[in-house]
């Protein structure tokens, strides 16, 4: 078993009187494909954004290496996002006046892990891998949802981040595009990329090797699976059973 790359201890997130995360303990392990599931309002997206430093926890500690993410300044968090973290959102969130290729390249240029030359080379490579060579010069408004989301994945991964945080990345896609995007995640994970993904889609959940189930701001269940290597009936049944136990 690999070591924990990110640890959240006693995490509490409150929004007014509403407790979204409730003294939660969580570990994210290196090279794992961790999937967070739960009902609507259970706090799964909040957990993802708090662990990644996109949002601030009310109390608790988030350890990333020697760093306590909850205590980092905005400047330090920005640096972290430019070097170690990559994000994929449900709504793609591409910069509207940059082409798909430029959206990817821009993240490469911002990343502290790449030189300009590397950023350009990796952009070309990733666009090819994501099957975006034809669409690369289109602006987001001229692209299909699948193309845009594939570009968003490429953008998240270009800077060679330690962890990719993905929040419902297939939520706005049709079935064919969903499979394409999930295949990309699987491929990246197989290459050793740590992924933390929030979803309520069974298809997406199946790609993970570790699943956490949230309810009322607490982790109430955990399921470990083998790494995804294609359709596997046994894995599917195991997941279904677990979700049933979780009353999903």
């Amino acid at each position: 078993m690999s070591s924990a790359i990110l640890t959240g201890k006693n995490l509490t997130k409150k929004n007014g009187n509403n407790t979204i995360l409730d003294h939660l303990y969580v570990e994210i392990f290196e090279t794992d494909f961790t999937v967070i599931m739960g009902t609507s309002g259970s706090g799964k997206s909040t957990l993802l954004y708090n662990l990644s430093g996109m949002d601030r926890i009310t109390s608790g500690e988030i350890k990333y290496g020697e760093m306590d993410i909850g205590k980092l300044s905005e400047k330090e968090l920005t640096k972290l996002r430019a070097s170690d973290f990559g994000f994929v959102f449900q709504q793609m969130n591409l910069v509207s006046n940059l082409t798909l290729a430029e959206n990817v390249k821009m993240a490469g240029l911002i990343s502290t892990n790449l030189t300009e030359k590397e950023a350009i080379q990796r952009t070309e490579l990733l666009l090819e891998q994501m099957n975006l060579s034809e669409a690369k010069n289109r602006f987001p408004s001229q692209s299909s949802g699948g193309e845009a989301q594939r570009a968003a994945v490429a953008r998240a991964v270009i800077g060679k981040p330690k962890i990719i945080f993905a929040d419902e990345p297939t939520g706005a896609l049709n079935k064919a595009n969903t499979v394409d995007v999930l295949n990309l995640f699987t491929k990246m994970n197989q290459a050793g990329q740590t992924i933390m993904l929030v979803t309520h889609d069974m298809e997406a959940a199946l790609r993970g090797n570790r699943l956490l189930y949230l309810e009322d701001g607490k982790i109430i269940g955990e399921l470990k699976l083998s790494h995804y290597e294609g359709k596997n009936k046994q894995r599917e049944e195991k997941l279904e059973k677990w979700l049933e136990d979780m009353r999903w």
């Binding site: 954004y49 920005t78 709504q91 969130n93 993240a107 911002i110 990343s111 010069n137 602006f139």
Partner: protein, 776 residues
């Protein structure tokens, strides 16, 4: 009706900041407009009525002491309405080591002439008793001669022991010749001192005496008189012995023009600037309306679906902006008198007179109506789009497809590249900024040109007002003066670029005395209309044209030394010597009536480096006898330069305020529409600081275009624009070359101010929370 009010309230609530910005922009432009107009109109009325109050007529003739017989002759002319004679003494004077160019006139203060005494701020103070040994002066002398209360002025009454030293006790408002534009100055002294001065004159021998007794005769036309000013003056000249006593004569209009020259130039430029600012306000309103309509398109469509009329919705917008503009105009008008008063106050040391500010209510009401009409037409056109929004079309409306230019993105210059990308892909959003920047740069560059032309010591104005441009003038009075050696000395200081010769001789034109400026190279005259003169023609000033009622093409008789000749008026030229009472002649032309072989010629030098002229003059004065050396300067210039600097500061301050409002309006709209993209950049790891720099840099990039437009337009029409304003106020000569102040300064300052304000207003970027991306 109520539904429209609800809509109006909703718009006001959402647009409070923008509407306030527009309100202040209109308010300031109206404040400047009405302030400068009030100053222009009050100046003329104030000085004119003050001259009337003090008893000055349509003409004032300065004479040597006249007899009762002459005054009776004048009074007997039927067209003469009234006449008022003041006794005076002409005397040269010295203040702080500086000698006057013209003689001053010492007047006994008595209560029959109700002078107003003022403090340095131009405020009227109680009439003091003038004690022996003290003198009251025009406040303009403070700037011309750097003289303060308590300092002495030495009047030269006779060569041997005839210096009368009087201490400055305070100031009086001299509506007649108080301005620093007029070198001739009045001094109010006590009766005892006047008796003393007259006694020195009476006891001095003819070769010793310097001061001279004389009179000022103020003559007013009768109300019934149908004569023109020129004909009236001719009648007095022809029917009395006054020409035998006349030193010089000025029409009220000429004096008024010179008294008002400075404040008119200042107010004229402020007036034009207010028009620029008003255009600016229209640009901002247009920007705001188009932005608001784009934002509200969907809502308007819904309102239409609910049954609201397009016209009704449009009227809501018209009402909103109309009322806003009306209040802004009124609130701009109210303190405009105060602004005019403050400007008048700050110019007292140059104008020598505190203008009594009186708002020209009727004129201003007419201007107000005209502005409202322009605004209504403008708003009516700009809100037309409301009518064309179709409900169904708008409900299906999706945000415009964003397309962009694919300019390069590089790691090292990412912040700049990103700014460039934003500008290129969304250039329409920045049109208003480009227009504003172009307008401001144009105007500031024009003002800079004016400053450059004026020069640090007022050389431009001096050149325009003197007979012909020069740095140094040397007039030898005998044949032992080594002119070759003198030229070598001048050359040490700076290479001589050009030379010509000038003589200033007394002549009569159609029987009236004038100074003839005679040049050996006539192309040096500042001809503003018609052609330069030759052996058979002369040039006249506007003043002479109006006094003698003559124009280009007319034939005139010029006489001197007992010889006379007819000449044609070939053109109008600019020369303010003797307040414009002079004519221009060629050497060949003058040789027909005068002797050109005497020591009448003053050699004028144009130096490569004009800044050394004072040093050269000092050296020549100290080392050579029998010469008169002068530079192209006069004491009143300091005041004018001071006023120009004031003008430039005012314009830059107002420009900065307008840039502030423009950036506030544009940045808030841009940040609002780009929040999404900014959140994404931040989620990628681009710091808020870099996004802010990039955002502010856009304004610099946009300004490059605005600056270029402004400077190019200024280069093409700037000189003409200033020339026209100057011409309106009697200065016919203007030319300006490339200068840092005129070109580089506005081109740098305007974008820098835009950048700084954009940086300040973009603080909102640091507050953008990237957690909003989750909600999307």
């Amino acid at each position: 009706m109520k539904k429209y009010l609800i809509l109006l309230r909703a718009i006001c609530k959402k647009q409070t900041g923008n509407l306030l910005g527009i309100f202040f922009v209109i308010l300031i432009s109206m404040l400047v407009l009405f302030g400068s107009y009030t100053l222009l109109s009050s100046g003329r009325e104030s000085i004119s009525s003050e001259m009337e109050r003090l008893g000055f007529g349509d003409f004032t003739i300065w004479t040597s002491s006249i007899t009762n017989e002459v005054s009776a002759e004048i009074e007997s002319i039927p067209d003469v309405g009234s006449m008022n004679i003041q006794s005076l003494v002409y005397a040269g004077y010295e203040v702080n080591g500086q000698y006057s160019d013209d003689e001053g006139q010492l007047l006994t203060y008595d209560e029959s002439v109700p002078y107003r005494f003022i403090n340095a701020d131009g405020e009227i103070i109680q009439t003091p008793e003038i004690k022996s040994g003290y003198v009251y002066i025009s406040p303009a002398m403070a700037s011309s001669y750097d003289v303060e209360i308590g300092e002495p002025i030495q009047f030269e009454i006779s060569r041997s022991n005839g210096i009368k030293s009087l201490t400055v006790a305070g100031y009086f408002a001299d509506g007649f010749m108080g301005s620093s534009m007029i070198d001739m100055k009045s001094f109010l002294i006590s009766e005892t001192d006047m008796e003393d001065v007259i006694s020195i004159i009476n006891n001095a021998s003819a070769s010793d005496v310097l001061g001279k007794q004389g009179n000022m005769i103020h003559i007013k036309k009768s109300a019934e008189s149908k004569l023109s000013d020129a004909a009236f003056y001719s009648e007095i000249q022809e029917n009395t012995q006054i020409p035998l006593y006349t030193e010089f004569t000025y029409q009220k209009a000429s004096i008024l023009n010179y008294m008002l020259l400075l404040q008119n130039i200042l107010a004229g430029f402020l007036l034009i600037f207010s028009v620029v600012l008003f255009t600016f306000s229209l640009v901002m309103i247009s920007h705001n309306i188009s932005g608001m309509l784009a934002q509200q398109e969907k809502n308007i469509a819904i309102l239409k679906m609910m049954g609201l009329q397009g016209d009704g919705i449009r009227n809501v917008y018209l009402l909103l902006y109309g009322v806003l503009a009306l209040f802004a105009i009124i609130f701009g008008m109210i303190p405009s008198g105060l602004l005019a008063s403050q400007i008048a106050k700050s110019m007292v040391s140059s104008t020598g007179f505190m203008i009594q500010i009186k708002m020209p209510v009727l004129h201003e009401a007419a201007i107000l109506l005209f502005i409202l009409l322009i605004l209504y037409i403008f708003l009516w056109i700009r809100t037309k789009k409301v009518l064309s929004i179709a409900p169904i079309q708008a409900l299906h409306h999706t945000t415009d497809q964003v397309k962009g230019n694919q300019s390069k993105l590089r790691k090292r210059t990412l912040v700049v590249d990103l700014a460039l990308r934003e500008v290129l892909s969304g250039w329409k959003k920045y049109i208003s900024v480009v227009m504003i920047s172009a307008l401001l740069v144009l105007f500031l560059s024009v003002v800079g040109k004016m400053g450059t032309w004026l020069g640090p010591n007022g050389e431009g104005l001096m050149n325009s007002f003197s007979v012909a441009e020069h740095d140094l003038g040397v007039q030898p009075f005998n044949n032992s003066v080594p002119m070759d050696e003198i030229e070598r000395v001048i050359n040490w200081y700076s290479p001589i670029e050009d030379t010509y010769e000038l003589a200033m001789e007394s002549v009569t034109l159609n029987g009236h005395e004038y100074t003839a400026n005679v040049l050996d190279e006539v192309e040096w005259f500042h001809v503003i209309e018609g052609n330069v003169c030759d052996g058979n023609s002369i040039l006249i000033t506007d003043t002479v044209a109006s006094e003698q009622d003559i124009s280009i093409g007319d034939s005139v008789v010029i006489a001197a030394d007992g010889r006379m000749e007819s000449y044609i008026v070939s053109g109008i030229y600019q020369c303010a010597n003797g307040m414009g009472s002079n004519i221009g002649m060629s050497k060949a032309g003058y040789s027909k009536i005068g002797d050109i072989t005497g020591y009448i010629w003053c050699k004028h030098y144009i130096l490569q480096d004009g800044s050394v002229r004072d040093y050269a003059m000092k050296y020549l004065q100290e080392h050579y006898q029998g010469i008169d050396v002068h530079t192209n300067s006069w004491s009143g210039l300091a005041g004018i330069v001071q006023v120009m600097h004031l003008l430039i500061i005012i314009l830059y301050l107002i420009s900065a305020f307008f840039i502030l409002v423009a950036t506030a309006l544009v940045t808030s709209k841009l940040i609002q529409s780009e929040t999404g993209n900014m959140e994404i950049y931040r989620s990628m790891g681009l710091s808020a600081e870099k996004i802010r720099i990039s955002f502010s840099l856009r304004f610099v990039l946009i300004n490059i275009l605005g600056v270029m437009i402004g400077l190019v337009v200024s280069q093409f029409i700037g000189n003409r624009m200033i020339g026209q304003v100057f011409l309106m106020f009697g200065i016919g000569e203007f030319s300006s070359t490339f200068s840092v102040l005129g070109m580089i300064a506005p081109g740098i300052i305007v974008p820098v101010i835009f950048f700084l304000f954009a940086w300040v207003f973009s603080y909102k970027i640091s507050k953008i929370s990237i957690t909003d991306l989750m909600g999307n």
